[in-house]
């Protein structure tokens, strides 16, 4: 995990990334990309929705 600074945001983003992987919401290889977006506050509604649509379509989660 790329964690240049352990700010509260980055530590929480890492915890959320881990939980999303653990519960099958995102794939292991996507964790870093989501972590970065969570840290930067740029994970928008449309992207959450797209992710949910893919999962719903695949019948996962």
């Amino acid at each position: 995990m790329d964690m240049p600074d352990a700010t509260p945001n980055s530590r929480l983003a890492a915890a959320i990334g881990d939980a999303l992987v653990e519960e099958g919401v995102i794939r292991e290889e996507s964790r870093d990309a989501y972590f970065k977006k969570l840290c930067a506050g740029t994970l928008g509604a449309s992207e959450w929705k797209l992710l949910a649509e893919k999962l719903a379509e695949a019948g996962n989660a």
Binding site: P8, A45, E47, W48, K49, A52, A56
Partner: protein, 606 residues
């Protein structure tokens, strides 16, 4: 001293607050705990303000003093703001701060270690503060604004999907209701056992294309006929004008014919000839011979003879003009009527071809109307006559066509409505099911994010509370109070609840039951726990008279705590006016600095 942590070794101030002259306070860098003792009014607050001035670039306690303003009172009495300077030496490096315009500027800019200052007023502001204000104190430790922004976006996505799901469900319900109504009204006895959706599916499968094609052709025939009728009406109106023009022409011709021995045409030619002859004679002046036969002539006699004849013919001249005008009107009307005939025939031809394309409309083919079907642009009596015959013949047929068209429309419109509603029902149901799955996934995601955020924040709060409680128990051993807990309000996000235990009663607000001295020590313990959590001990802590209301027994325990805690920080500096601290002070562990009484000339001195 390569292993010595960064510690303040000197505080120097000039014309700053109570430092009226050059003040220099030296600290022993070998001891992590420094106690600066001074009676009231010796300049302790000036020293703390000086540390804050350099470390946090604020004027310190002056901003809390009623009636004092930074720009007027931060400098010593009688001094100018530009005279002021403060210098802090940490290890062997000095940082100097002074005003530059309205800003405090420090050189060098970056300090080598954070310095946290706790004043008694801050303790009370934390303990007694409303939950939202208390949260502000802790915010930087649990500031997860970026993640919270993503969480808000996730909540928005969830809300959007719920809203879309509701719309799809409503669309499904609407289509279902309409189909049920249509079924109740339109089903045949054979279809009675079907449910509305099955019935709609069966109806939706019916191919309407043949009916629609025929309806389109019928509509085209009706529209073309309507246009032909308009063209016929216009043609008839113009024909009427043409007829009237022709009658006028005949009347004028008859009036000209009433003149004996001269028909109108000859009269007009004669009048024209006489007029030209008169002009010729006038032009020549004295014409004494005929220009053609050379026969001698009397010009004067000739002119008067011409005038006499023209006078005789003058009524005929007016009639000739009227006749010309009438002829021109007839020609213009003939052109208009011709053009309207072409338009009419063209529309009639389109109508004939449209009707001929209908499989069950006999008697309107090229055999019956060869000239109409063959018409291109040339008007003939034959195609005019055929057009008139055609329009007369199809009048009753068009009535049937209108009836059939209306009947088809009555059949097609509801059938299309059922088809549309059935398709809408299937699509809405499918979309609602899809959105419901997306909603479920988003709810799982939201649950994960909220859970992780709450756990994360609560873990920090618990760690701070545990440390705070541990320190507090050391100062208040055996007392039935403590067990301090922090909790975020789950509804009001930026709100921090503080609870403790008092005489066996859990979860009570400490500020309601604890004594003032207990609240002082609670705030002190909280400050230590908080700063240690924030910095990991890599900081200098300054405590300004924070134990004002604490008795000897608790001061002794607080001293033990501070000496122990000072090993966990770069340096701890305590300023106090209380003699209690000096009684049991282990001098070998503590750098004790005693301030001399303050004077205007000397300022703050040790």
């Amino acid at each position: 001293m390569p292993d010595t942590p960064p510690r303040i070794t000197e505080i120097a101030a000039t014309r700053f607050r109570g430092a009226t002259s050059d003040t220099r306070i030296a600290l022993d860098p070998s001891k992590p705990f420094v106690l600066i003792f001074g009676e009231n009014g010796t300049g302790k607050s000036t020293l703390v303000d000086a540390i804050e001035f350099v470390s946090n670039l604020t004027p310190g306690s002056i901003s809390d003093i009623s009636g004092a303003t930074e720009k007027q009172h931060v400098q010593s009495i009688g001094a100018k703001l530009s005279d002021l300077s403060v210098e802090l030496t940490i290890g062997t490096t000095s940082w100097k701060a002074a005003y530059s315009g309205r800003q405090i500027q420090r050189t060098p800019a970056d300090l080598c270690t954070p310095i946290h200052v706790l004043r008694r007023s801050k303790i009370l502001s934390f303990v007694n503060a409303p939950p939202a204000k208390r949260f502000e104190q802790l915010k930087r430790f649990i500031d997860v604004a970026a993640v919270e922004k993503c969480e808000s976006e996730l909540a928005k996505a969830l809300s959007d999907v719920k809203s879309a799901f509701k719309s799809s469900s409503e669309a499904y319900e609407g289509a279902h209701t309409r189909l049920a109504t249509a079924f109740a009204e339109e089903h045949t006895p054979e279809e009675a056992g079907m449910d509305p959706e099955q019935w709609a599916l069966a109806r939706a499968k019916v191919d309407l294309s043949e009916m629609e094609t025929r309806k389109t052709l019928l509509k085209k025939a009706l529209d073309t006929h309507s246009q032909a009728e308009i063209a016929l009406a216009r043609k008839n109106a113009e024909q009427e004008k043409l007829n009237q023009a022709r009658v006028s022409c005949k009347e004028i011709e008859a009036r000209i014919g009433a003149y004996p021995d001269l028909d109108a045409k000859s009269a007009v030619v004669l009048i024209d000839l006489l007029g030209k002859t008169k002009n010729y004679v006038a032009l020549k002046g004295d014409l004494d011979a005929c220009p053609i036969c050379a026969k001698p002539n009397d010009a004067q006699h000739l002119e008067s003879a011409i005038d006499e004849k023209l006078s005789e013919l003058s009524p005929l001249v007016e009639l000739a003009k009227e006749f010309d005008t009438a002829r021109a009107s007839v020609r213009a009307a003939e052109t208009v009527v011709g053009s309207l005939y072409r338009d009419l025939i063209s529309r009639a031809q389109t109508l004939a071809k449209t009707l001929h394309s209908l499989p069950d409309c006999p008697g309107v083919g090229p055999e019956e109307y060869p000239n109409l079907f063959a018409y291109e642009d040339t008007l003939t009596k034959a195609n005019i006559a055929e057009t008139n015959r055609f329009l007369t013949a199809i009048a009753p047929v068009l009535s049937d066509i209108q009836t059939e068209h209306d009947l088809l429309e009555k059949k097609i419109a509801p059938a299309k409505g059922i088809k549309r509603d059935y398709r809408g029902l299937v699509e809405a149901r499918s979309e609602a099911a899809r959105l419901n799955r997306v909603r479920e996934v988003l709810e799982i995601m939201f649950e994960i994010v909220v859970r992780e955020r709450r756990n994360f924040v609560q873990t920090i709060l618990d760690a701070i509370a545990d440390r705070c409680d541990s320190l507090y128990a050391r100062i208040h051993p055996g007392e039935k109070l403590g067990n301090v807990r922090f909790a975020l309000d789950q509804v009001k996000r930026a709100s921090l609840e503080l609870t403790g235990e008092f005489e066996g009663h859990a979860d009570v607000p400490p500020q309601a039951y604890f004594s003032e001295s207990h609240l002082d020590t609670l705030g002190f313990c909280f400050f230590l726990a908080l700063t240690h959590h924030l910095t990991g001990g890599k900081a200098i802590i300054v405590l300004d008279d924070v134990f004002a209301s604490v008795d000897q027994q608790h001061i002794d325990r607080s001293l033990d705590v501070l000496i122990g805690e000072s090993e966990r920080y770069h340096q701890v500096i305590l300023l106090t006016h209380q003699h209690h601290w000096l009684k049991t002070l282990p001098r070998e562990k503590v750098d004790l600095i005693t301030l001399k009484p303050w004077s205007l000339d000397q300022g703050v001195q040790m």
